[in-house]
């Protein structure tokens, strides 16, 4: 079975479809693109990992849409989640008088 899914060509993250272990080699394909990624850490079922280098502040792309921005540089195979991605919407904490 497929270990992970790259939804759209050009996405910079893929979704794990299994419990994947650090060091595993994962083959991905979407549209005309084929990629090989070695996992830099364990990736839980349903969680995402980078398929190419992502710079701090760069959009995270899934479904060929922006799902958030990288809060730091992310290397291929690294887990991509709330610790290194932030939402750019509904950030009331940044509104005048917000929590931050």
């Amino acid at each position: 079975m497929t270990k992970a899914l790259l939804v759209k060509q050009g996405d910079n993250v893929a979704t794990s479809l299994d419990r994947l272990a650090r060091g595993e080699q994962v083959s991905l394909a979407a549209g005309g693109t084929a990629l090989e990624v070695r996992l830099a850490e364990d990736i839980a079922f349903g969680h995402k990992f980078a398929v190419r280098p992502i710079a701090a502040g760069e959009p995270i792309l899934k479904y060929a849409e922006t799902i958030g921005l990288a809060t730091r540089a992310i290397a291929p195979g690294e887990w991509v989640h709330v610790h290194n991605v932030e939402s750019v919407r509904a950030r009331g904490d940044r509104a005048p008088g917000g929590a931050r």
């Binding site: 979704t15 479809l17 969680h47 709330v82 939402s87 509904a90 917000g98």
Partner: protein, 385 residues
């Protein structure tokens, strides 16, 4: 494609898939009587809210409209309205009667006591249920139904397997002449441009942006980062990192057809096709609005697992997560996890969903119905005074 199913043709012309007698409590203080009556009489369903006294303005109107929508719902054969006094239940009873179904009204003060009203209600309900059991199903166009799509306990499998399955069902159902309602605009955030581009009426694109904008302003007013509230902690544990990611996966369940109408909470669609309803993203409140607006069946996609169903309308639970399909098997009507576990096609699972919905429309019971996993929750739009 004109497919018929066996349904209940009501006096107002609408089609039902169930034939229950509603015990409608017009206010909080008659809820215990409604519960007692329903516990004593088979074939009944309670319609109640924990509120109903001293609500004012828009909030009062919305509660009233939702309860009236549920009472008039074509899945309901007859209604008993309970209230503290006959006067205070008269308005809801009038609305229910307009649908042409048998309606009885009981006032606690007129009956003399809560137990006296309970016994009167039991006698009336028993008669209504026996009479309703004589109503026969007849051939009705399948596409006359309105099907609502909902998701809860989402994870990344929702956007990759179960929601796309619902989305393909939605496209086919609309192509056959049916109506699909997609709701929860807060979960359009980050994906609203995709929906806005599909509106038929130009003002609806702006309405969609405004609904999402309102939610973003609420977050600003509260001074909070919505993450942790939405996506919820279980969404995040399931791999969803941001609300944008959740939204992009969530809107897929409405399919890809043009959006013909944008309506308010518990409003009935006036056009056939894909309709958007403005509801909060709490599933029980959203489903209550969807069914209050007339949806006869709800399709509910879940990832991490969420067992709850709508009141009045059978709720079909669908999961694409293999772990949830195993752990929650008794709550799941359709397991589409083969899409992820075995690379099976979404088309094949949409076929299975079509067959399942058809059977449920004709009387096959859902897991929510059998296990009483149903919660009516009318949204509040202001405080009581």
């Amino acid at each position: 494609m004109s497919v018929s199913f066996q349904g209940y043709r009501r006096a107002d012309g609408r089609v039902g898939v169930r034939n229950q007698v509603a015990i409608l409590s017009a206010m909080d203080n008659t809820n215990p009587s409604a519960q007692r009556i329903a516990a004593m009489v088979a074939g009944t369903v309670v319609l109640s809210t924990p509120f109903g006294r001293t609500q004012i303005g828009h909030d009062f109107e919305m509660t009233r409209k939702t309860l009236a929508g549920l009472a008039c719902h074509p899945n309901i054969a007859a209604v008993i309205v309970l209230s503290l006094s006959l006067e205070s239940g008269a308005d809801l009873a009038r609305s229910a009667r307009a649908s042409g179904k048998p309606v009885a009204c009981l006032g606690l003060q007129e009956c003399g006591s809560a137990l006296a009203m309970t016994m009167e209600g039991v006698k009336t309900a028993a008669g209504f249920v026996v009479a309703a059991s004589e109503i026969a199903r007849e051939a009705c166009p399948f596409a006359e139904l309105t099907v609502a799509v909902e998701c809860g306990g989402s994870d990344t499998t929702s956007g990759l397997a179960s929601n796309p399955t619902l989305g393909q069902f939605a496209d086919r159902f609309i192509d056959a002449g049916g109506t699909i309602i997609l709701s929860e605009p807060a979960e359009f955030m980050g994906a609203e441009h995709i929906l806005a581009a599909r509106t038929v009426q130009p003002e609806d694109a702006e309405r969609i942006r405004r609904m999402v904008g309102w939610f973003e302003e609420e977050a600003a007013r509260a001074g909070v980062d919505m993450r942790g509230t939405n996506p919820t902690p279980d969404n995040i544990a399931g791999g969803l990192s941001t609300l944008e990611e959740k939204s992009l996966g969530a809107i897929v369940k409405g399919g890809t057809r043009p959006i013909v109408e944008v309506i308010g909470y518990a409003d009935a669609p006036s056009r056939r096709g894909l309709v958007i309803m403005d509801t909060p993203s709490a599933a029980c409140e959203s489903m209550t609005g969807l069914v209050g607006g007339g949806a006869q069946i709800v399709l509910f996609s879940t990832g991490r697992g969420n067992a709850i169903g709508a009141p009045v309308a059978p709720t079909v639970k669908v999961t694409g997560n293999p772990n949830t399909a195993r752990a929650m098997a008794e709550n799941i009507d359709l397991d589409v996890s083969g899409i992820i576990a075995r690379g099976e096609s979404i088309e094949a699972h949409a076929d299975r969903l079509w067959t399942e919905v058809f059977k449920i429309a004709q009387g096959k019971l859902t897991r929510c119905e059998v296990l009483h996993e149903e919660q009516l929750s009318v949204s509040r739009f202001g405080p009581s005074v």
